[in-house]
Subunit: 189 residues, 2 copies
């Protein structure tokens, strides 16, 4: 019998694709096995268990997203960088809803510390270089930016903005403008 050529990477990738198609919480070892036309038990040579699969998808998505953010931030500063940063997150979530959901998976501390999550935090701080904030304001601002962007995406994906006629894209740029103004006001004060 011909072998399927499974590897942990291919399974992870397939899991990410499946997540985008049916939702991250619908990602199941069985579904991946079906996709490769292979028996479920065969996956356990490449994955510790179901949780392991989900963790790998999360790490994959964090990495991919961090790469996009880094590319978008290159050569930008100030409001320009802020808007680019925001748009990368939003676009990624729209393009890859399942992967974006995966990035919210709670990782255990060591895994999180070794993940691309660290780069995300660094890049968020990098944006604030354009605004010259001292600690602890810088940390407050990092948390605020993360909250707004994640919260907006999360609510938008959940359909929370569906019952008002105002175009979400307009709200998005209004919010980015507002954050820029806010950060500038903190700089000058």
């Amino acid at each position: 019998m011909v072998r399927a050529g499974l590897t942990t990477e291919r399974l992870t990738r397939a899991g990410a694709e499946l997540a985008d198609e049916v939702g991250f919480d619908q990602v199941t070892v069985s579904a991946i096995a079906r996709r490769f036309d292979v028996k479920v038990a065969s996956l356990y040579s490449h994955l510790k268990n179901s949780q392991d699969l989900k963790t790998r998808i999360a790490l994959f998505a964090l990495e991919e997203l961090a790469g996009r953010v880094a590319a978008a931030l290159a050569g930008r500063a100030g409001k320009d960088a802020l808007a680019a940063f925001a748009n990368v997150y939003r676009d990624y979530a729209r393009e890859h809803p399942g992967r974006y959901a995966a990035t919210q998976l709670r990782l255990d501390p060591e895994t999180a510390a070794a993940s691309a999550g660290v780069r995300h935090a660094q890049m968020t701080r990098a944006i604030l270089r354009g605004y010259d904030l001292a600690e602890p304001d810088q940390t407050h601002a990092v948390r605020m930016l993360g909250s707004v962007f994640h919260g907006y995406i999360s609510l938008e994906m959940a359909g929370g903005f569906d019952h008002t006629a105002v175009d979400p894209r307009e709200s998005w740029s209004w919010i980015v403008d507002s954050l820029d103004a806010l950060l500038r006001s903190w700089t000058t004060s």
Copy 2:
């Protein structure tokens, strides 16, 4: 044999408690049945299915939270109302993490329209009365407030703020102050 006295309400309540203890996604029909020392199939007289249970927990939590928000907003306006509003959400999430997670469940449109979610939206708008914003800025602001608060709570619960020494409570009030300043600046402009 003595009957257990199951009702849809008791099952929903038990589900909410279970959610707070083990997480909303760990809430299972089987676990509820164990809690009442009853066979799983017995619950199907009171619940359509597992999804129905989760929806009911979500509606219950939305209702409970809306009540708290309404109570907190009574007699307050401006920044005072804004801070009270924010704190109710954060406190509720800390006190009832499973129920808070339940409020994020995606509901189908009709269910959502008939839920306390509508009241939440109205109360958010009510806060903005203190800032005198015209449309569409008001909608933008509603979305921004929802995003910040939900995003912050969500990131904090996920442990996203654990690797920096700055006290999350300070960031929280810094953010509330910033939002107040921002809304006031929009009012005057």
